[in-house]
Symmetry: C2
Subunit: 150 residues, 2 copies
DNA sequence: CCCCTCATGTCAACCAGTTGACAACCGGCA
DNA sequence: TGCCGGTTGTCAACTGGTTGACATGAGGGG
């Protein structure tokens, strides 16, 4: 039987991530997961923990637990929101911002170069399919319980 | 700035997985991670722990730890290899095999239907891009340390 | 003004991975 | 035969997620 498309997707993503992880460790001294977290925090300055968690695709408890070490390592600042006694404002330090921008640019450039090196690949075609897929998934009804099987 | 293609890829995969997870829980009583593990075990009968781990994309310790509960739940059998005192032969029970086949077929069918429902999407185009990408990644040189940056 | 509800961040307990170490076992070779 | 290196499965310690509970602060009606 031929490999399901979704399995193929996972394989590709896993290898892509493994590549990115070694680059990030070697040249930037961060883990892939940490990079993603910082990248999420970089989308908007002054996010609170809840928004950051949503943006990074994890629970707020997980986001909260990541803060202390990243603050200690000079990657983030977490300052109390003056307008709200409990909320935190989370910002990247200039160093972390530079890291995220540089690494993102580099990884994306290498990805584009890899695609360009093969005549059968075309980043815009891939993007179109992925964007269509993303859109199709957003407008997807929740799965209907089939209540068959086991 | 426009979203990097690799980030888009992650978003799509995350949503796809979330959908699959709810289907698998609702209708098959397994977690997405468990389903993947069983699917890996189903590729070849009689795999040993090491091969299964490689096939499932995890360490052998992790694979080893999963066994007892899956055996207890009647999903797997782990029998000592007669030709090798330490090696285990791991097989799916008929029930687990049926589960994997049924669920795989269903999820892939729904995926194809979603693609077919949008005129801008084409599964064969997507597959071609992904397969080319997979191949490009296999023949990729290890990342060269740039030794720049922080 | 108080109270009720909701949002926010954190904590404890748990779960499922990882790495590194290790005992048991295989197989080849002196 | 006995030893020795490599393989195999498992264990302990750790990491980084999850959920559910919780204290605290915000904000809007009685």
């Amino acid at each position: 039987m031929t490999e399901p498309t979704t399995f193929l997707l996972h394989r590709v993503v896993a290898e892509l991530d493994a590549y990115a992880d070694t680059v990030l460790r070697q040249d930037y001294g961060v883990t892939f997961a940490t990079f993603n977290f910082l990248a999420a925090a970089s989308t908007l300055p002054g996010l609170d923990v809840t928004a950051l968690a949503r943006c990074a695709g994890m629970s707020k408890a997980a986001a909260s637990k990541r803060l202390p070490t990243l603050v200690r390592d000079g990657m983030l600042t977490a300052s109390p929101d003056p307008h709200h006694g409990r909320r935190l404002r989370i910002d990247l330090t200039p160093r972390a911002l530079a890291l995220v921008e540089h690494a993102t640019e580099r990884l994306e450039r290498e990805f584009a170069a890899m695609l360009a090196s093969r005549p059968d690949l075309d980043e815009s075609v891939l993007r179109d399919q992925l964007e269509g897929l993303a859109h199709a998934l957003e407008t997807l009804p929740d799965p209907t319980p089939t209540s068959g099987e086991s």
